[in-house]
């Protein structure tokens, strides 16, 4: 098993190296002058030249890339041109907000998607199945940025039930920093006021972000349950008069969710991308919001760091999925 994990880890290295090269060259070769963008519209050529020199844009590409590689090895991504702070500090500070949001979305999608998928399979080709199919295709078809705005319109502006934006109400001090997850930190430190407030702020963004995952998990659970329902043991139990409810929710479901759980791992990359949109709409102070600011201000250092971060997260999640699959099905380990 250890050998299997190590082989998986080694396979990832060329992809990550390629990613580093590709993103770096795209940013340097694709013609927009980062120095001019940094200097602003009214800068003189002399000012632009100075910035170009200051940031090392006048060095040969290979030298710039070598400098970058050495920096990445030290996790030193330089200073963000947008926030004027080290990129690694910015990312470290913002990552928990994004992780809290994506994990909340993932938990919601799983908790709702697995029962809905089971329901669709049980009512196979009857109206609940058709309705759920249209809904699950719709979940992928809806534009997250529009859905988020409509949710804000109804629940925050018209009804006033939930807050419009942010992670906490402006007057409220954030809980003491332990994990960076407001929900967990506020519970640990006994700040129940902050817990309730953070939870209310989390509902709309997490729900928006969960839609795509909810649809995927529903579909995969449905397919898995349909498969299991045709197994001999189900026919046998049915023939024996075993009550349908416990049969499906206890025995069939337990045999069916493996494919759906594999999907949950794969969804994580998509969730991070979705966070870009959702965080922008809800002013959520995470990585996604930061990414958009970096892209809009052509902040190349932040863009490179974030691309790499996403690549690493994607690789880790894929390894985890492979390892979990290997644990579930030993044949996968042998055939490698």
């Amino acid at each position: 098993m250890l050998g299997f994990v190590v082989r998986r880890l080694i396979l990832v290295i060329p992809s990550l190296a390629g990613l580093l090269v590709l993103t770096f060259f795209l940013i340097r070769v694709v013609p927009a002058d980062p120095a001019a963008a940094l200097a602003g519209e009214n800068a003189t050529p002399a000012q632009i030249a100075e910035i170009r020199h200051q940031y090392g844009f006048d060095q040969p590409l290979l030298v710039q890339f070598g400098v970058y590689l050495a920096q990445v090895a030290r996790l030193d991504f330089g200073e963000s041109a947008y926030s004027r702070r080290p990129v690694s500090v910015d990312i470290k500070q913002r990552l928990p907000a994004t992780l809290e949001l994506t994990l909340a979305a993932l938990i919601f999608a799983t908790a709702l998607g697995i029962p809905l998928g089971t329901l669709a399979a049980v009512y196979h080709n009857r109206w609940p199945d058709t309705v759920l199919r249209i809904l699950s295709v719709g979940g992928v078809a809806i534009a997250a940025f529009w859905f988020a705005i409509e949710l804000q319109l109804v629940f925050a502006m018209d009804l006033g039930w939930l807050p419009l934006r942010g992670r906490l109400s402006p007057g409220l001090a954030p809980p003491a920093l332990v994990t960076g997850f407001y929900l967990i930190d506020s519970l640990i430190t006994g700040r129940l006021d902050a817990f309730g407030d953070a939870l209310r702020h989390l509902i709309l963004p997490a729900f928006t972000l969960s839609l795509g995952g909810l649809a995927t998990i529903t579909r995969f659970t449905r397919a898995g349950v349909l498969d299991t329902l045709q197994k001999d043991f189900v026919t046998y139990e049915r023939a024996q008069g075993f009550p349908a409810g416990p049969l499906i929710w206890k025995f069939v479901l337990r045999n069916s969710v493996v494919a759906a759980i594999t999907q949950i791992g794969l969804l994580f990359g998509g969730l991070i991308a979705g966070a870009v949109v959702v965080e922008t709409i809800f002013d959520w102070p995470g990585i996604g919001f930061y990414t958009v600011q970096a892209i809009l201000t052509a902040d190349t250092k932040v863009m490179l760091a974030i691309t790499l971060l996403i690549g690493v997260i994607y690789a880790i999640v894929n390894i985890l999925v492979d390892v979990v699959n290997g644990l579930i099905d030993p044949r996968l380990r042998e055939n490698d």
Partner: protein, 279 residues
């Protein structure tokens, strides 16, 4: 005929096909059916932000333009972008997939590793970065979307080619001296066309969605284009009063993408029994 009968029984797929046909018809006939076709560029400040009424069923926007007309006219741009992006992505991705799947060696390896790298970055983020780097405009947005979408076709065609290249009829063709281009384009490609069509249909919906995000973030269409994503971005500062301003362009995106996805879903069931959704 059997396929048509089967398709007709699949109600969600028929619904999808109907929506797609309606949107395509709307796009073609847009200048004829839009009540105020001049509202692409015109502005009527006295009429601004009027709620839905018989004259303006979807209300008017911040410049007094009829939102129904702009939603109808916007279908043209959305479909055009999607067609171009998916079409060019296919033109790049399909041949690369055929070559990588048929040949063994460094060329195949290089193509597939580059494909993997592109697929490892979320498409939206890569497209955003590329669009910004090329200078925000509709052309950059389309180029960025194409650059990020071709690997999906390469991946599918590669897998299909690998599967087909091992088939007996390909061995036979090689024995009678058929060249690689002939085998690839006349024999393997027609056998791999079903998954390509399914991917292209779903890709149309997906591209419309991502293009709308780019427009919304100011990286795609520019004012006064009647772009759906752009309209939603413009509407934000007039909420909650002008709810119709954001709601109707968003519904247009939703219905169009839903149509393509339902259609693609239904097509997959019919053309590819291995991926069959309902057993």
């Amino acid at each position: 005929m059997l396929i048509l009968v089967k398709f007709a029984k699949d109600k969600p797929a028929v619904l999808g096909a109907a929506i797609v046909l309606a949107v395509v018809a709307m796009a073609i006939l847009a200048p004829l059916i839009a009540p105020y076709p001049g509202d692409v560029a015109a502005s009527h400040l006295l009429q601004r932000l009027k709620p839905p009424s018989p004259e303006h069923p979807f209300g008017t926007d911040n410049l007094g333009r009829d939102i129904l007309s702009r939603v109808i006219l916007g279908a043209r741009g959305a479909l055009m972008i999607a067609l171009l992006v998916v079409g060019i992505s296919m033109a790049i991705g399909v041949p690369l997939g055929l070559i990588a799947g048929y040949q063994q060696g460094w060329l195949s390896q290089t193509i597939m590793r580059v494909t993997d790298i592109f697929l490892a970055v979320p498409q939206l983020i890569l497209a955003l970065a590329l669009a910004q780097l090329m200078g925000p405009s509709l052309e950059s947005a389309m180029l960025a979307l194409t650059l990020t979408y071709w690997p999906f076709f390469t991946r599918i065609v590669y897998a299909e080619t690998r599967r087909l290249a091992a088939a007996l009829f390909i061995d036979a063709l090689q024995c009678i001296g058929a060249g690689a281009p002939r085998i690839l384009f006349l024999h393997i490609l027609p056998n791999a066309i079903s998954p390509i069509i399914v991917r292209a249909t779903i890709g149309m919906g997906f591209t419309i969605l991502v293009a709308a995000v780019l427009g919304f973030l100011g990286m795609g269409a520019t004012p006064p284009d009647p772009d759906w994503g752009l309209a939603i971005a413009e509407s934000r500062q007039y909420l909650p009063e002008a709810w119709w301003f954001s709601t109707f362009p968003g519904l247009a995106i939703f219905l169009t993408v839903l149509g393509f996805n339902l259609l693609g879903d239904g097509l997959r069931d019919i053309v590819d029994p291995r991926l069959r959704r309902s057993r």
